[in-house]
Point group: C2
Chain length 376, copies 2
């Protein structure tokens, strides 16, 4: 493992683990949730506010940043951290997923993917080598190998071919990555829902050797039940002493279930995207602030929450500013949701440390199921 | 004067004055610029951030708040301060100006104005009595008399009739206002560009007796030259020992010129609205951040500015997030502009205290005229 990165497991509870991932830009407490800063901003948040929620690390999107403002441009401006004013660690994805999900005109070959920008139609290439170069230019702390996120559903043959392509790309990613002093490289396990393919992928990644391992190809429409079925076996195939990162997940209940199955890291746009559409995650489940029943409610979203939205404002206010289309609505609800996600992760870490994750998960889910606060 | 409100003039420099207006919710340093919080939010800002820029007082819009969420609703929730989480003083306008500028179907009579909401078409009335009731329900610290903002241009006869209607409404506003312990009432001078009408209006307002006096009917399309011509005589007609408030003004140069002519208070949406459209006010004049020449510029908007946008970000970043339509663009530029406005007001107050307003204005305008920072 890159000497600048040190992953220390501190506690285990069943298959769940808690620990710390040291980077040259600070420590990441695991299990960790990484807010998504797609275009060099966690939407509707200032970076100091993201840090105040308890986030140790952000995710940046290679695809978006390579198109606008451009990786070379960001490098010329001192790298992504300086550009977006975030001093902590940043993980960047490889761009592969967004190329497949956001572009219409694309052509995939053994070499990589040729595509047109969804912003201006300009033509671009992404290959393992170019993805590594872009992530080096961005200066991310954790670089993701370039892969194809296998679609769901697909045949076993498609899943195998896609996984094997990703493994060839993983090898090229590792070779192109080299041995930078301040960056770590994560490989990505594919194989869809098939244990044998997941095992083949894990074995191949382990042979190549990475600083951490992601579980790819989930949260792509298969649903929580199927995802958990895969997580029942997939994480255990990956090296025990390296962080395991489940990409693009998820809802609070997904996080609980995935941690219990051995996952250490997560990223998802859900807390910020939901914040912008008026949906708040709370200890008492989801609150849809646009619902008219909140219009006269003087109570906060969650009386036990210490975030600025709950400390300073009523549901009535949050309802009002959402209905009025005010930016402060996105600001406050995004902050609340990121705060809630980080509190959930902190609770998960404490529970693992105390050997009580199952009880914590049960109590947490019972509160969610009890539902939103009682009517006035 | 309401004993809860005390206006203390501390320095004079020509016709300019500096001082302090004490309210039960805190002191307002004058000359003062009031950020506008139309719908119970200063757009794209959290109230603690507005306070951090140096703002002592906010303005709220009666028209918007009466329609959504409703004055009775805000009162039931503890008043506007609690609703919007702002503990400092709030001035509310009377609703008269917005009724005339934002509604299509309206009917004005001696009694008041009947109109349809621009939000949902519902029918409403505004009268001096209802405006006072709404502003009482909102709990604003400074209440504005209900008036008609005389349009520009208009004939002398129209200006006279409009002004006299506003004076009858001023009397009814005063009667309906009563003698609340924690609120002050400001009258509004009208009379368009005509000295005799402005004098008649000032005399009538003084007879009725107000805690402060606004200069209305300006910044409605007449241009800075005409506005300054009116300000050459209008403020001096108002009581010397009461604050004078020029409504809806303005650009930085308008503030300099109006202070020099004896104005103590201002409000304007310009710093926040311009922030949302990519326009920044700086010591070196206006910067249009969407201009492509900023795309690779590593320098801050203004190297001497201490606001978060200038302390943490390059012009290249601000250009990028504006082009990408990111909310953080509105957040950072609104913050910068409000910070700049408050710094300008602080500079004005210091200059008046030192008897050097003319020199300060000249130097400030010379820097604006020198233009934006040199090319790299």
């Amino acid at each position: 493992m890159n000497p600048a990165f040190r992953f220390t497991l501190e506690a285990r509870d069943g298959r769940a683990r808690s620990g710390r991932l040291a980077t040259t830009r600070g420590e990441i407490r695991t299990p960790a949730f990484m807010p998504v800063g797609t275009a060099a901003t966690v939407k509707a948040m200032l970076p100091e506010s993201v840090a105040a929620t308890g986030a140790d690390i952000l995710l940046g999107n290679t695809y978006h940043l390579m198109l606008r403002p451009g990786a070379e441009q960001i490098a010329a401006l001192g790298g992504l951290h300086r550009f977006m004013n975030w001093g902590g660690p940043i993980l960047t994805d490889s761009g592969g997923y967004q190329v497949m999900s956001l572009t219409d005109l694309r052509k995939m070959t053994e070499d990589g993917v040729r595509f047109r920008s969804h912003i201006d139609g300009s033509e671009h290439w992404l290959t393992p080598e170019r993805s590594m170069e872009i992530q080096r230019l961005l200066g991310s702390d954790i670089v993701m190998a370039f892969d194809e996120c296998t679609p769901f559903p697909c045949t076993r043959e498609q899943a195998a071919a896609s996984m094997r392509l990703s493994m060839r790309w993983a090898e090229r990613s590792k070779a192109a990555f080299g041995a930078p002093e301040r960056q770590a490289l994560f490989g990505i396990q594919q194989g869809s829902t098939h244990p044998a393919l997941r095992q083949e992928s894990a074995d191949r990644l382990r042979e190549i050797g990475f600083d951490g391992y992601a579980i790819g190809g989930l949260a792509v429409g298969e649903g929580q039940a199927v995802m958990f079925e895969v997580l029942d076996f997939a994480p255990d195939m990956l090296p025990e002493d390296r962080p395991r990162y489940l990409m693009g997940v998820g809802k609070p209940a997904d996080l609980l279930g995935a941690v219990a199955r051995g996952v250490d890291m997560f990223d998802c746009v859900l807390p910020t995207r939901s914040g912008r559409t008026g949906q708040a995650f709370t200890r008492r489940g989801v609150v849809n602030i646009k619902n008219a029943r909140h219009a006269a409610d003087p109570r906060p979203l969650d009386a036990d929450c210490t975030c600025p939205a709950c400390a300073g404002y009523s549901r009535a206010y949050l309802h009002h500013v959402f209905k009025a289309g005010e930016i402060v609505s996105s600001m406050l609800l995004s902050w609340h949701n990121l705060h809630y996600y980080q509190e959930l992760m902190a609770g998960i870490r404490r529970a693992i440390g105390a050997g009580g994750l199952a009880g914590f998960a049960e109590a947490t889910q019972a509160r969610w199921a009890a539902g939103d606060i009682a009517p006035l």
